[in-house]
């Protein structure tokens, strides 16, 4: 059986995951150094990670083929990533966002509750905020399905334009 073309964007994600694992090593060493036990809520990492993967795969599939059709996408993505970094609670806590904005922001950008969910789950014995994560999960799944459909439909013409 020949493998589908999905393998190529997914392989890229795999490469990044490997990076992430490497980056996790110093993180683990810090736990050892400070003799800090990960908290019992750490199992939340699993659903968070699953949702993150769904979202990434969906985006990756759609963008991979679309960027073949529209070369500009490749150029624009760098900028979008930078903007994305600032509208996600990476360098600031979610609590610094006004409460009324949090839900719409989470729906539009599911990375918000995902990123905000890891930290408390690993460090502070807190569950992620399910009121935000729930709707964001829906977005993740929708993105994955839409991304896959877009990929399937656009993949057909890729060799014609590449």
């Amino acid at each position: 059986m020949k493998c589908g073309r999905e393998i190529f964007p997914i392989e890229q994600i795999g490469t990044s995951l490997f990076d992430m694992v490497l980056a996790g090593i110093p993180f683990g060493l810090l736990f050892v150094r400070y003799q800090y036990m990960p908290t019992s809520t750490i199992y939340w990492v699993i659903p968070l990670f699953a949702l993150q993967m769904a979202l990434t795969i969906g985006l990756g599939l759609a963008l991979s083929t679309l960027s073949v059709y529209f070369r500009d996408i490749r150029q624009v993505i760098g900028g979008i990533m930078t903007v994305g970094l600032f509208i996600s609670p990476v360098a600031y806590p979610l609590s610094s966002i006004p409460p009324s904005y949090r839900l719409p922001l989470s729906i539009v950008n599911p990375f918000v509750p995902l990123i905000d969910g890891y930290r408390p789950a690993i460090l502070f014995h807190q569950k992620p905020d399910l009121h935000l994560l729930g709707p964001a999960a829906v977005t993740c799944v929708v993105v994955m399905i839409v991304g896959y459909v877009v990929f399937r439909r656009t993949e057909i013409g890729i060799a014609d334009v590449a």
């Binding site: 059986m1 020949k2 493998c3 059709y69 529209f70 070369r71 500009d72 057909i156 013409g157 060799a159 014609d160 334009v161």
Partner: protein, 398 residues
């Protein structure tokens, strides 16, 4: 959609009314342009964008057949192969290809230029769905056939283009494909490798693999395949036994290149014939007479060159003659006592210059002739014959 007559056996190909079209559109990268195109399409004004490259192509290939695919440049041969590999999809029609495909279609397909030759062999194998161990079993054969022992650990980007093609061909035909698709392998390889490719293809066919071979080297196609498809401007013009199809294809090429005739330099050839001296076709080992009617505006001391080729501009042999041309019509006759050619079609090429080395007539085909006689005697495997000259000998062993 066609009716599907059940599953195809392994190694079979069936194309049913295949169409392929491309958009001739240099601004398709622009999103705004795409939006406009969509609007046009919505208003049904879009047809002008499309160029049809394959039109209603239907064929069926049984397992183990060896099929040549010929046609002039841009006729859609490579496109058809890409449909067969699944790289491209047809616009309309159905295509069924059964079994593992080994393909060598374009140099860069399936090859990662940052990896070494060795890594690429394994990568290609796994893209075909082979296990690492299965590829490992074939690995030595692949490297040995490609003759790249000293280069397998080098990155592909530092390979010469011939080396890349060797590797590609070797991988494609050693991983036990059920179907082997080859597009113009012979163009890049050196002479020894070309011959090895031909031999290997022969073996692959004998072992029951289906072969589709695209080449402009008609002799190679003829030697390898027993059936031939002729694509012309996206239309399948002929499908049949190799000799019949190549016969009409060669004739068609000749008609096209006939426009070359009547080439005029300082002098002009009005008529050219090649016969056995008596209006018949020339025969192997018998005399042949080439008769040229030459129109000249004034008198010249001329050197004529007369070459015989299998079609291209490179002659098998050349005859040369110094003579005097009068003003008006002249008849130049060259009598060859023993024609050293096997059965087949050959072309007479002519060139003329005057005694000050000024060109009077460019090198061009003047006519063709069909030789009656025995088929060309085969060279042993692995030996390349430069041209199809046939000499009969009387043998004795004592």
């Amino acid at each position: 959609m066609s009716l599907d007559l059940g599953a195809l056996p392994e190694g079979a190909i069936r194309g049913d009314r295949l169409w392929k079209r491309f958009r001739d559109d240099d601004r398709r990268w622009k999103i705004g342009h795409q939006v406009k195109a969509k609007v046009d399409q919505w208003r049904h004004q879009d047809e002008s964008y499309w160029r049809y490259v394959l039109r209603d192509v239907s064929f069926e290939i049984a397992p183990g057949e060896s099929v040549g695919l010929v046609g002039p440049n841009g006729s859609g041969k490579s496109t058809l192969l890409k449909l067969l590999t699944g790289t491209m999809y047809p616009y309309a029609g159905t295509l069924a290809v059964e079994g593992r495909i080994g393909a060598l279609i374009n140099l860069s397909a399936g090859i990662v230029s940052d990896l070494t030759g060795k890594d690429n062999i394994f990568l290609y194998g796994s893209l075909l769905g082979l296990k690492r161990a299965e590829v490992a079993k074939k690995y030595d054969q692949i490297v040995e056939f490609a003759d790249l022992q000293e280069a397998v650990d080098r990155q592909i980007k530092f390979y010469s283009s011939g080396m890349q093609k060797r590797l590609g061909f070797s991988v494609a035909c050693h991983l036990d494909p059920a179907i082997l698709l080859i597009d113009e392998v012979l163009a890049v390889g050196d002479a020894t490798f070309q011959q090895r490719c031909l031999n290997r293809m022969q073996q692959v066919v004998e072992s029951g693999t289906t072969l589709v071979l695209v080449s402009h080297d008609l002799a190679a196609v003829e030697g390898t395949c027993n059936r031939c498809l002729w694509l012309n401007d996206g239309v399948l013009l002929a499908d049949g036994p190799i000799r019949d199809v190549l016969g009409i294809y060669r004739q068609w090429i000749e008609e096209v290149s006939e426009q070359l005739q009547g080439v005029k330099g300082e002098i002009e050839i009005l008529k050219a014939t090649a016969t056995d001296g008596d209006r018949g076709s020339p025969r192997s080992d018998e005399p042949m007479e080439v008769r040229l009617v030459v129109q000249s505006d004034r008198a010249y001391h001329t050197t004529f060159f007369l070459g015989v080729s299998e079609g291209p501009a490179t002659p098998i042999f050349v005859l040369r003659y110094n003579g005097h041309l009068e003003e008006g019509e002249n008849e130049v006759v060259c009598m060859m006592r023993h024609l050293p050619l096997p059965r087949g079609r050959f072309y007479v090429w002519v060139y003329a210059k005057d005694n000050r080395n000024k060109q009077l007539l460019p090198w061009h085909p003047a006519c063709f002739f069909d030789v009656i006689g025995n088929r060309l005697q085969r060279a042993p495997r692995g030996i390349i014959r430069l041209s199809s000259v046939q000499v009969t000998g009387d043998w004795t062993i004592s």
